[in-house]
């Protein structure tokens, strides 16, 4: 190993964190907590200080919060050099340098990759360039969308019936706007939670007055002579007039800057081991390079045989802490990142919380409450083992299920819950494993493997 490539003693040297959002900031704070006293730099492509994303599709959209109020609280002083508003465009691992868009090069001994994901844009050829077509990932997106909604569009088209789509549709209905949701699958949330819960979600969409188009895709968005969105042509031959469209069709990882770096990185994320150490294309760990947050794909001991990618708020925080600990300690003292995945979403007056990995399941059973009461808990099983639980408006019971999942309890679980059915009735969880969402004929970049990528953007615990 060359001198340049040798990481210094764990507490000193130069650490660069690329990505100045939740994972990057929390990792930087944790590095100081862990006793790292060397030079610390944070690189972020947005000009803003780190801010909280979950409110963007909830309170910000409905106007209860403005984007100047969502700056992340600082847990401690991190004494860092901030390079904001400058994207990283390249990584030179042998030379130990990050290359910035303005040509600067930043030296590091150890590196944390936390550049996250972005909203998948609508293809320009299918109307993506029209005024009125939005995505929602950053605070600038939220400000633009909020301004567009404030003009009182006659209808908002939401493309994609996942968590972001549902939250946006819910927020628009709160504002009194007409909403059409176009969903490729047979139900909203179906790719994350399956068809059984998806049908319950469809009910609460419709009860809120959403025009829900299932098993349908958008062929193209059409504009007027001024380049403004006017209508969408759908796969069933119908046309929806809309002045605002929100594209919520998933989130590819921001890995372009790693092209050619030798890391195992693609649109799904950057592969790493359970200690958050980045893997090279040869599958070996790369010395001194770590990964955390939405961009990381890593093996979870509870769910073997695959790499997980979680777009979850609490995973970003936990993984940032683990990565920071491991960056500040020698290999022997490394920790394994293995929290139980968890997230939440609020939409249409319903609070939904999930633990474990529902999308892995082959069966689902309602264990408490009832689907049509909008208050229930559903347990998910895979080959006789409990792998997840989803609670709707019953958030306080979920920790108990989490303990059962971690203990690899059997499915269906024996609970005898007093508000549960006399006999649990497991049914097919109805996962259709879609291959992603794209306008017809656009064979794009989305080859997301559903079994490994849990994509619930903007939905957090």
């Amino acid at each position: 190993m060359t001198a340049a490539g040798a990481p210094g003693p764990a507490g000193a040297g130069r650490i660069v964190v690329v990505g100045a959002s939740l994972a990057g900031l929390r990792a930087a704070e944790a590095l100081r907590d862990e006793g790292f006293t060397g030079e610390l730099s944070l690189i972020g492509d947005e000009p803003h200080e780190p801010y909280d994303r979950p409110p963007l599709s909830k309170a910000v959209l409905s106007g209860r919060l403005t984007t100047d109020r969502i700056t992340l609280p600082r847990v401690r002083n991190i004494d860092a050099r901030w390079l904001l508003g400058t994207a990283a465009t390249g990584l030179d691992i042998p030379g130990r340098q990050v290359v910035l868009a303005d040509g600067r090069r930043v030296d590091f001994d150890r590196l944390l990759i936390a550049t996250g994901t972005r909203a998948r844009p609508w293809p320009a050829a299918a109307g993506g360039g029209l005024a009125g077509v939005h995505t929602l990932r950053g605070r600038d997106d939220a400000d633009r969308l909020r301004a567009a909604l404030a003009t009182g569009p006659r209808r908002v088209l939401v493309i994609g019936g996942g968590f972001t789509g549902g939250e946006v549709a819910s927020g628009c209905r709160e504002l009194g706007l007409e909403v059409t949701v176009v969903q490729r699958g047979a139900a909203p949330l179906a790719s994350a939670l399956g068809g059984v819960l998806g049908r319950a979600a469809a009910d609460w969409h419709r009860a809120a007055g959403v025009d829900l188009r299932l098993n349908t895709t958008v062929r193209a968005l059409d504009g007027d002579a001024h380049g403004r969105l006017r209508r969408a042509r759908l796969s069933d031959g119908t046309v929806v007039d809309a002045e605002v469209a929100v594209v919520a069709t998933g989130a590819p990882a921001n890995t372009e800057w790693l092209t050619g770096s030798g890391l195992a990185a693609d649109h799904r994320g950057v592969a790493c081991d359970s200690s958050c150490r980045a893997l090279g294309t040869d599958g070996a760990t790369v010395e001194g390079v770590f990964v955390a947050g939405d961009i990381a794909r890593w093996p979870h001991p509870l769910f073997p045989g695959q790499l997980l990618r979680l777009d979850h708020w609490d995973n970003a925080v936990a993984q940032a802490r683990t990565a920071a600990h491991n960056m500040a300690h020698a290999r022997l003292d490394h920790r394994v990142h293995q929290p139980l995945p968890a997230f939440w979403s609020n939409q249409f007056g319903v609070n939904l919380k999930s633990v474990g990995l529902p999308h892995l399941a082959d069966q689902v059973a309602v264990t408490q409450g009832a689907l049509d009461e909008r208050r229930f808990v559903a347990a998910y099983g895979l080959r006789g083992r409990l792998v997840a639980a989803v609670a709707v408006d019953s958030p306080r019971v979920l920790d108990g299920y989490a303990a059962l999942i971690e203990a690899r309890a059997p499915f269906p679980p024996v609970l005898n819950a007093p508000d549960g059915p006399a006999q649990l009735q497991p049914v097919d969880a109805e996962f259709t494993r879609p291959t992603g969402y794209a306008p017809d004929g656009a064979h794009d970049h989305d080859t997301r493997t559903p079994a490994a990528a849990v994509s619930t953007p903007m939905a957090h615990p």
Binding site: G369, D399, G400, P413, L415, P418
Partner: protein
Amino acid sequence: MTTTLPDTATDLFAHALRYENRADPYPYYTRMLRQPVTCMDDGTWLVSGHREISQLLHDPRISADRLNPDAPKPAARSLLVLDPPRHDQLRRLVTQEFIPRIMGMRDHLDTLVARLLDAHRSDRPGQWDVVADLAYPLPVTVICELLGVPREDEAVFGSLARRLTRGLDPIDTQTEDELRELQQAREELVQYLEGLIARRRAAPGDDLLSGLMFGTDPAGGMGPVDLRVTLGLLLIAGHETTVNLIANGTLALLRHPDALARLRTDPDLATPLVEEVLRYDPPVQMSGRSTLADIDIAGTTIPRGARVRLMLAAGNRDPRRFPDPDRFVPDRPDNTHLGFGGGLHYCIGATLARAEAQIALTALARRLESPRLLADPPPYRENAILRGPEQLPVSFERLGPGERTA
């Protein structure tokens, strides 16, 4: 000292409940922690580990039914011992009425605390009883105001609550006389509450009782029995827990003068300090549950249908969860104590109790000069579960005027 401690769970539990150990049951809890989950001779399971208690508090296979053969018939049970869905319906009705009424209450609490201290203002050395003069009247006034109990009834109401609290203790620790007295108190309470309910029905106010009675929840209001039972629960919970939190907190401060000195100059310390009191010396020492299915835990299996005792105060001293658990650390980080329970039955009044204790302890620290405990340990009340001092006599050089902060 440890050589005199018994070894079996049954004996440890019995000793922890004995009145002679009321001032310091903690050595028994510490010994219990050697076996975080264990079965006692009477078939009741004793759970002392923090992790294990936490898990059971959240476990869907756990029922709040204590399986107490002496319990009132199901129709007259409070939400404390009920399971979903009935628990959830009742709890929702209570939270809807309770939470909005306690929001923005801090200024009012400041005033109440100042008034109680002003009554004993003195520029000369003197003494007073922290329990009788502050820790007890503060929460009583607050809960009576909330519920809409007329001020002139506070004394009646308060003495009933005190007499009833003893009924929460394990039945075999109570004497015949106590049980008879308890029954008498229960009947008096029913009578009082039914009278109060009738008066409110005739002349509703903007209090919580009127809210519960005429609430407009789509799921429906509370029936007369639920109303009386819930009212009784709020009354006892409001009277008999916060008093101990404030008294235990004062005791801890007087035993740790460095913490007292810090609180005097740094009001921000009140927040973590009250959390540490809830961990170190919690007002509610234990809780009960039963099992709905076999539960594998800590290398053993609690069978379906078993009674379970969750030793919250022991879990709070679990060295596997808290470094240096027997030390009072006023700014302890990462303090996930079990002082308010957890899961479905997490204390509804937690926010109010915290605010009352933070304000009361801060005012004490600021206004009492050179306070000193006159009896250490102080005399304790009989109650083992809702445990706290009977009196807390304190001497001082001066009880100064309060600079009003708000």
